[in-house]
Symmetry: D2
Subunit: 375 residues, 4 copies
C-alpha cells in the first residue's frame, strides 16, 4: 500500500524550545497532527513556543509531561546532551520518539537508547533529515542501480558559517552539547549520507580537529573553547573506497554548505543541500547533466518524497515533513523506511571514532554496523 | 501587531480538484485550518481530492456546497473560465475568497467580480503567488529604497516546458480556459511582478502571439489550436521605462522559468523562481553580488515571509502558505497586504490589452490602475 | 586539406589605434604574420600602438600607407564611419581586408564595399567574431543536424555595461559612429548569430529604441544623445519562427552579456560569450546537459576552432586568432569559411531595417539575403 | 619600468613533442620569439611538431641541439623523468630554461638543478602556470591585503578525468614519469598555489594514496599500476593553519578541476581554473560576491597579467603566454617575478614529503623553504 500524504493524526509533545523546535511543531501540524505538550527549561520558553506553534500544555519536566499527557510521540529538540535520556524516558513509557540529531553525545549512550528501543514496541527515529530530500533518494537509487559503476571515491563537506563570529553559545559547552561541535552537529549528516547513498559501511576514520576560534566571548568575558570547529577527515569504506571530507562551523559565506560527490568508474553524482532540487550526473567525458527533481522521472524512493512539479522548489520544510510523515505512517502500521535509533547509534559510533582518531592523531577502526542494519 | 505564524483557524472549501487544488488543501491545513468541503466536476474527482487531503464533504455544485457548509473561505481552483463566477457565488454569500489566477478570462468579468467584492465585507485574494517569495519582497524593497537608482529597464520571461509535447489539454480550450494560454496562465505572474516590484504601472503593451504547435492530439485525433503558446511582448511603464518579456509554454528544459531583471542607473537586480532563495545584485562594474535569503539581513517585508535560516531552502509550498497566511490573518482582522481582486482585475486588464495588441499587431494603451491601487 | 595552425605569414597593416587595434595587432603576430604599418589620426597615436605591438611604420593617411607599404592585408579598426571607405581603399589596390564590425554605417555603403570586393580578387572579411568560438560552431552543427528538432523560437540578448556612466564618447557621435549605437555596436553580433546558427534568414524586424541616458558629459558640458543605448526587437525568420532580443550598452554588471537560446521542438541550446567553453543542451524534460568544449567530442567545424583540451579555457583572444587564421588561410589559397563582406552587407541591412522600424514604430520587412549567401 | 607586451625576441628550442610542446611553441611565437630547434625521441615526432608550429631544426639529442643551435632559451616539455637532466644540460651551457612541471621526479634531482641554476647566470623557470592567471594574482593580493582577515583554513582539489579509462600511458611508468602520478602531475599546482596565495609555507603533510584503477591495458595486455591516481592529503601551514585537498586523475566529468578556497576570519575567497576570470569573495554572512576580471579594478599584480576587457574571457593560452612573457622580460633584464627553480625544488620537496607520508601512513614534516624564497 502506498501511504497517502496525511498519516493518521497523532498527539505529539515536544521537549526543547529553540529554533528547531519551531520547525518540528510546524511540520507536525502540517501533517494534521497536534502538539499537545511543550516542555522547556522555563515556563516562559515553553509558553513562547506554544504561542508560536498554536498551543500545547506547558511543562518544565519532561517525565511529568509524558505521564500527564500520554502523547503518542515525543519530539526531542533539546540540547544534545539531553537527547538520549529524554528519548529513553519516552520509550520506557511506550511513547514513540522522534529525536533530533545526534541521538546521544556518546556511542554508549546511543547504544543504551537503541537497545531500549529495540526491546520495546515503539518507533524511535533520528532526524538524519538529509535522507528525506528526494534527490538524495535519487542519488542513492542511481548508485544502487549501477548508473555510475563501482564507486571509487566519495568527497564532500559540511560547511557552515554559523559560528563565524566570536560569540559563545551552548554548542561549545561540553556539559550541554557533548564533547564535539563540528562533527556531532554538522558532520554527522555527511557521515550518514556516505553510508546511506553508497550502501557500504565506514570501516576506518582518520581525523584532525582544529579550533580556529579558540576564544569566544560570553557575557563580556573570554571563554576558552575546547571543542573542534573545523574537522578534516579521511575515511575508508569497508570495501576500501577512499573518502574525505571537511566539517566546519566557521566557514564564511556558507550558511548551509552540505555537499556530497560520489565518484564511480563510469560517472559521478553531486548533490548539495542548498540547491536540493538538482542532482549533478557527470559522465566521464564531455558534459555534465543537471537532473531536475521532476517527479515522473525519478526513482520510486525519490518520487514518494516529492510532491511539487519540476521547477517548483521543495526545501527544508518539505524534508522535515517527509521524515515525520514516514515515521507517523510507520507508527500507524504502514511500514516506511526512516532513520531509526540503529542509525542514530551508528552515527554516534562514527562520531566517537572520529573524536578518538583526532585525539590520537591516528586512524581508528570503526566496528561493522549491526547486522539488522539494512539500509 | 506582528501576526504570528498561525492565523486563527478557518473552515475552508475548495472548488476544483486538479493538481493546484492539492497544493491549496495541504497549505490550508499547514496553517491549522480545515477543508470542510470539496466541489468537483464529479463525485469521484472530489472524493479523490478529499482522500488526498484528509477529508471534506463532497459536492458537484459549488453553490450548494456554499449554502450547506457556509465555509469561512472558498478557494477557487477550477479551470480558468469558472473562476470569476465561482468567486462571485462566494462573495454574494458573504464568504471570503482565495481565487487561483487568473481572476477571470476577461477584464470585464474580473471587473464585475472586483466590484462585487468591493461592495462586500469579504476578503478576496488572487494567487499572484510570486509576491509571496521573500526575495521578491526583498527585490521590491531594494528598488523602492533606491539601491539601484532610477529604474531604466526591465527584462525577463516566464518560460515553461509544460506543453513541450503534442497532447491536447483543457488549457487549450477557449470555452474552459479563456482566450489566452501562455499570457493568462504564465505571463500574468510576470506582468504583476513588473508593476509590483517597480511600483510603476504598465501604460502600453505591444505583443506578438505564436502558436508553435498548432495541432495537438486529443483521443487520437488532431485538434487545431487557436490560443497562443509563445508570446513576445514590449511594455512601457507609465514613466516610459522600456520593458520586454517572453512567455512560453513550449520551451524545452524550463520546468518553471520565471525570471525578472530590473536594471537601474546604479545597479541591477535579478530573481528567478527556480532559485528563489537568491537575489542577484549587480553594481555597474566589477562584480555581481548573490544575496542569500538570510532573515536578519532582509527588509521587513521579506523577513515576515521567511521562516527558515539562510541556506535552508524555502520554496513553492512556503510561498503558497505565506499567501494564504496573509489572507487568513486579514480575515481575522489583522491587516496584512495580499494580492486582491483589484490586482486580479488589473492583471486581467493587462492580459486583455496584450491579447488585443497581438490581434491587431500594434501597441495598445493600458488604462491607469484604479486609484486605490496602492501597491 | 586541413590547414595547419599557422597560415603562411602575411604583411599586415592596421588603420585605427584604439583598444581593438591592439587585439588585431597581437593576434596577427600570434599567427606569425607581421604588422608593417599603422595608421592613426595622429602620429602619436600610431606610434603608441606601434610601441605596443612591436613595430610597424607610422602613418596618418591610410591611402598613403597602402601605396607605400603595399601590405598583403589591411585590418580596419577605425571608428565605424570610416570602415567602408578604408576597406574600399584597400580593395581598389588589390589588398585584402579584415574589417571590424560594422562593415559600414549604412546598408548602401556596405553594399558598395561588398560589390567592390565581389568584383575584385581580394578576400574581404568582417569581424563577426562570435562565429569563431568553437561552441558557436557546435551550436550551429547541432541545430543543422536536427538534434533539437525544428527550431520554434530564438531568444537572447547582447547586454553591456560599457556605458553605465554619464561620460560622452565617440560611439555617441553620429558623424563618427553612424546613426546607431547599441544595434550597430552590439546587436549586430546577435543578429548575425541568429541567421548563422539557424541557417534561416531574418524576414521581418520590429524594434523599439530607447536612450536611457539622454544627456552625457563631454569636457564638463552636457551633450544631448540621439542614438539608442537600449533596443528591444521582435524578429521573424523567413519560416515564421519568432525571435526576440534586447541589445543594451547600459546594463549594470554585464561586461559582455551576449547570450543566445535556440528552442526547438525536441530540445533547446544555450550559449553565452562570457562562458564560451560551455553549451547548454536542454531536452524537453528532466535535465539540462552542460556540454564542455572537449575537442574529440565536437563537430568538425567546432573542432577545427579548438586547440586546448577540455577544461582548459579558450576565450576572446582565441576567437580573434581563429577568425584571422581562417582569412589568412583563405588568402593563401586554402578556402576556409569566414564572415565576408556579403555577411557584412547583410548585417548592415539588418541594422538599417531595425533603425527604420524603430523610427516608424512598426515592423519592417527585410529583403532576402543575396543568392550566393551560402552560410 | 612597466614592461611592454612584447619582450625582446629570443631564439628558443623545445625538447619534447607532446601536446604541451605545441602550447609552448605557439605561445613562444605569440610573443614574437622564434622556435629554432625541436628535439624529439624520433626525427618523425620532432618533424611533426616542427610542421605544426612552423619550423625549427630537428634533433633527437638535446645536447647536440643546444651545442649546434646555441638557443637563448630551452623549453623542457619532455616526460617528467627527463626534466632535470635536460634543464641541467641547458644551464651548463649558459642557456636559459623554461621547464615544464615537475622540475624533477625527486627533491634531490630538483635540488641539483636548482643549485646549478643558482650558480649560473641563467634564468630558470618552472611552469607553475596557475600563478599566471590574473585572478590568482588578485586572490593572493586580497589575502595579503588582509581583506579576508587572518587565514584560518584552506580547502581544495585538483581533479581530472584524464585517466577515467583503462588505457595505459607513460604517466604510469615510474621509469619515465617518476614515482608519483596524481601528486606530481596535478597536485603540485595546488600545493604551489597554497603557499603562493597565503604566503605561508607548508610545514606538515599527511597523505593517503589510492590506485583506483590498479590494472590498465597496454597493447592488449594487463599492466599492474603502482602509482597513485587518487590522493587525499592533510596539510598544516607553518602557522598551524589546517589545509586539505584531493588530487585525482580519475574523477569523471572533471576535465580540469583545480579549485582553491581560502577561508579567513573575515571572509573567504574561491577560484577555479575552469572559470578563471571569476573570483568568489564570501563575506561571513548574507551574500557572495562574484568578482569579474575587470582590469581597472584589479590589484597591480593581477592587472599586469590581464589584457582583455571584463567579460572577454582570458584562459589557458593567455596564462602560458603570461608566464613566458615574464621569463623573457627577465631574461631581457627587466626583472619580473616568475616561478623559478627554487619554487620547482620547493614543490619537488612537497611531492617527496607527500609520497613519504603516504608510504608510511603518517604525517611527515616538511623543511622550511630556502631563505631567499621570497614569494
Amino acid at each position: 500500500m502506498t501511504p497517502g500524504y496525511y498519516p493518521p493524526p497523532l498527539r505529539a509533545a515536544i521537549v526543547g524550545t529553540g529554533g528547531i523546535s519551531r520547525t518540528h511543531g510546524r511540520r507536525i501540524r502540517d501533517l494534521g497532527s497536534s502538539v499537545v505538550g511543550i516542555c522547556g527549561r522555563s515556563v516562559a520558553s515553553a509558553e513562547g513556543l506554544a504561542a508560536d506553534i498554536g498551543g500545547g500544555d506547558v511543562y518544565t519536566d519532561v517525565k511529568e509531561m509524558l505521564d500527564r499527557l500520554r502523547p503518542d510521540v515525543l519530539h526531542v529538540c533539546s540540547p544534545h546532551g539531553h537527547h538520549a535520556g529524554q528519548a529513553r524516558a519516552a520509550i520506557e513509557r511506550g511513547i514513540h520518539v522522534v529525536c533530533e540529531k545526534p541521538l546521544a553525545t556518546s556511542a554508549d549512550d546511543a547504544r543504551a537508547a537503541m537497545e531500549l528501543a529495540a526491546g520495546s514496541n515503539v518507533h524511535a527515529a533520528v532526524c538524519l533529515t538529509k535522507r528525506s530530500y528526494p534527490m538524495v533518494a535519487e542519488l542513492r537509487s542511481r548508485v544502487m542501480a549501477g548508473s555510475i559503476g563501482t564507486v571509487v571515491a566519495v568527497r564532500g563537506e559540511y560547511l557552515s558559517s554559523d559560528n563565524c563570529h566570536d560569540n559563545y553559545g551552548w554548542g561549545f559547552d561540553k556539559s550541554i552539547a557533548g564533547p564535539s561541535y563540528a562533527t556531532a552537529d554538522l558532520g554527522l549528516h555527511w557521515l550518514d549520507l556516505v553510508e546511506h547513498v553508497t550502501g557500504t559501511p565506514i570501516a576506518l576514520v582518520d581525523a584532525r580537529f582544529s579550533t580556529t576560534r579558540p576564544v569566544r566571548i560570553r557575557d563580556g568575558e573570554e571563554v576558552a573553547i575546547d571543542v573542534e570547529d573545523y574537522v578534516r577527515v579521511f575515511i575508508e569504506l569497508a570495501d576500501g573506497t577512499p573518502v574525505s571530507a571537511v566539517f566546519s562551523g566557521v566557514t564564511p559565506g556558507q550558511p548551509n554548505g552540505c555537499a556530497i560527490h560520489v565518484d564511480g568508474r563510469d560517472g559521478g553524482l553531486d548533490w548539495r543541500v542548498d540547491t536540493p532540487n538538482q542532482l549533478g550526473h557527470r559522465p566521464p567525458f564531455g558534459s555534465t547533466e543537471i537532473l531536475d527533481r521532476d517527479p515522473p522521472r525519478l526513482s520510486a524512493e525519490a518520487q514518494r518524497r516529492s510532491f511539487a512539479p519540476a521547477g517548483h522548489v521543495e526545501g527544508f520544510g518539505d524534508a522535515f515533513r517527509n521524515l515525520f510523515r514516514d515515521v507517523y505512517w510507520s507508527i500507524a502500521g504502514t511500514a516506511v523506511p526512516y532513520p531509526d535509533f540503529v542509525d542514530g547509534f551508528r552515527v554516534a559510533t562514527l562520531i566517537d571514532a572520529i573524536r578518538a582518531s583526532a585525539e590520537r592523531g591516528t586512524a581508528v577502526e570503526v566496528p561493522a554496523p549491526l547486522e539488522r542494519h539494512a539500509r
